[in-house]
Symmetry: C2
């Protein structure tokens, strides 16, 4: 029952690439990376200290075994590294190492490292080769797939960046064993999201398999691979986010508003937790609009709760404040196009859709009830 390693192709014409998902991939990364680089190519491995502690040595050893000379670029762990000065620092260190266009930038870490290193790869020498080695569950199922890279601006998250596809993604499912438990659960919210968007059978499978996924083994690999298939299908239809890709924001409108209300303080709420609550709210709001059954919202909440995720505003009421305040955060959100309130709503589990011109008054009334004003 080895090699249970799966390959998910991402079809984007001449920017197509494969996502490999399986155990032990970091230890064999040199061979897989060598396959997508020209002979003699070198690499810069961008990583943070948490990930470096557990996983850098095995990557470097494998690169060396396959003749890929590597320079390590370390940045501090955490969201603040997605900023202009750190971006500049990463780019300059890539240039210091005299890497050329045919050489690779490798992102070894979570979504922060992937977004930052991917953006550096996009702009250093106007575009170098790029390999993602996502080590958080969120990065494996979401941020490493689809080519969005970038940093934050004082004006908001992810407002500066590029669409830049990697040549290869290696999702080592064993690497998740060193991930803090809370991060694992937060990443799992995005896995559930794919079921809720358009894969009701996947959601039902997740309801049964959560314990096995948490434990590791073939179910984990399968859950990640199915998530990558789901995301890459959406991305292939809409690489630059002009339409369908918006579905991936299910749960994110309410979730982002909560994160913003908490000033993005991870002590209070992390992204996946916001998404978990936001998905339940999207189902509840859809029920209120007579689009879906209230039972669906309950079923979603029950599963997320089993996975150890928050599913309502209990404990966050002080953070949320009141409906006015939450609506302000929603309106500031980048998904607002020319004043119209766009939401991802649903007709039931696996039946999400993009709703345009949702009346702000309905959202307000729903929020007031949820906060318990």
């Amino acid at each position: 029952m080895r090699d249970i390693h799966q390959i998910v192709p991402v079809s984007l014409g001449d920017r197509s690439y494969d996502i490999h998902i399986g155990p032990g991939l970091l230890a064999k990364s040199g061979e897989l990376v060598a396959d997508v680089l020209p002979p003699g190519a070198r690499a810069a491995v961008v990583t943070d200290e948490n990930v470096a502690r557990y996983h850098l040595d095995s990557v470097l050893a494998s690169m060396e075994a396959f003749g890929i000379g590597a320079t390590v670029v370390r940045v501090p762990a955490g969201e603040p590294s997605k900023c202009y000065p750190t971006l500049q620092d990463v780019v300059e260190r890539i240039l210091d190492a005299r890497l050329e266009r045919g050489d690779a930038v490798i992102a070894l870490g979570g979504g922060v490292i992937g977004d930052l290193a991917g953006f550096a790869a996009a702009i250093a020498r106007r575009g170098m080769r790029f390999v993602q080695m996502p080590t958080s569950l969120l990065a494996q199922v979401d941020s490493s797939v689809g080519g969005k890279t970038g940093i934050n601006s004082p004006h908001g998250k992810n407002l500066v960046g590029a669409f830049y596809q990697p040549q290869l993604v290696l999702a080592d499912t064993d690497a998740l064993d060193t991930l803090p438990d809370r991060e694992f659960r937060a990443g799992y919210a995005e896995v559930v999201k794919y079921g809720l968007i358009d894969r009701p059978d996947f959601f039902a499978w997740l309801e049964r398999q959560w314990p096995a996924i948490r434990a590791g083994g073939p179910e984990r690999i399968n859950a990640i691979a199915e998530s990558c298939r789901a995301k890459s299908a959406v991305v292939a239809r809409d690489e630059r986010e002009t339409g369908d890709r918006a579905l991936l924001n299910l749960g994110h409108t309410f979730g982002h508003a909560l994160e913003a209300a908490a000033k993005f303080d991870p002590e209070i709420i992390v992204h996946g937790e916001g998404v978990a609550i936001g998905m339940v709210m999207a189902h509840e709001f859809s029920a209120r609009m007579n689009l879906a059954s209230p039972d669906d919202a309950k079923r979603v909440a029950a599963h997320l709760e089993t996975a150890g995720l928050p599913t309502n505003l209990n404990g966050l009421k002080a953070v949320a404040g009141n409906a006015d305040r939450m609506l302000d955060f929603i309106a500031q959100d980048k998904k607002v196009t020319r004043g119209a309130l766009n939401f991802i709503l649903t007709r039931g589990i696996g039946q999400a859709f993009v709703a345009r011109d949702v009346p702000a008054s309905e959202v307000h009334a729903y929020l007031a009830g949820a906060i318990g004003e």
Copy 2:
């Protein structure tokens, strides 16, 4: 004999666009820009003080007449603006103005503004619409065509950037009347370059028409349009500079080495002057290698001299130093791939080609002679 305005299409699949070349285009820019933007779109006009003084008002008036609300982003004139802090400033000012992806960044200025604003357009919100309004001859015939954008790094010029195509280019040939004479002549070196690469008839036409081109009128429009056709043909064959596009570097290896030797001080030498000298040297070196006739080098030098451009190292010997020093600058140049010396050489006027593995010893011997060691 109005409308002598020409349109050169650039064919790059779904990234295709038109270059308009003619008199008075800035004054009608609002109408042409409105055509490539969604209804209700707004714009940020990025410009420098020299260009703003003469041309900003007519652009703003025309934008207003066509309902395009515009924010002005001014940066200091000159090469130092192609840097990280100014890039960040331009991006943040675009975000301050709450511009969205469907809104436009407009570069109104020379190559510095085009490269900087184009890069900002590429990365603000992961890519906004982009319009080039080149106002220097160099920008009209070279930098605004082909989608290269970027800034300089402490490691070298143009090392950070993106390939990002505009939706529209408006080259107002009257705008060149306010350009300093030295800048006009320097830009003209790039016009001559297209003749020397693969358009011998164009070179012969330039030899006859230089006075008319300098004066303005239909010959100027024609010279610019033919240059845009030449560059866009190369770009269409090789958008991301992996092969043929290298031909555009004719004269640039020696030219860049001279610019670098002068520490990029425009008091000593500007880019187009380096290119002029470099093109003569490329022809002389090709003659020395028995590839071309020495008469071609003389003919090239004679025409560039007529256009008021420098054609040899007289007056620059102290700057150049000696052959060793010049070779060092050449080796540091970004066109060096894995240690091999690539040069653009020629078999005669209009017959340039990419030569790989040119012996450094030959280059050294030629340089020693040219410097007169």
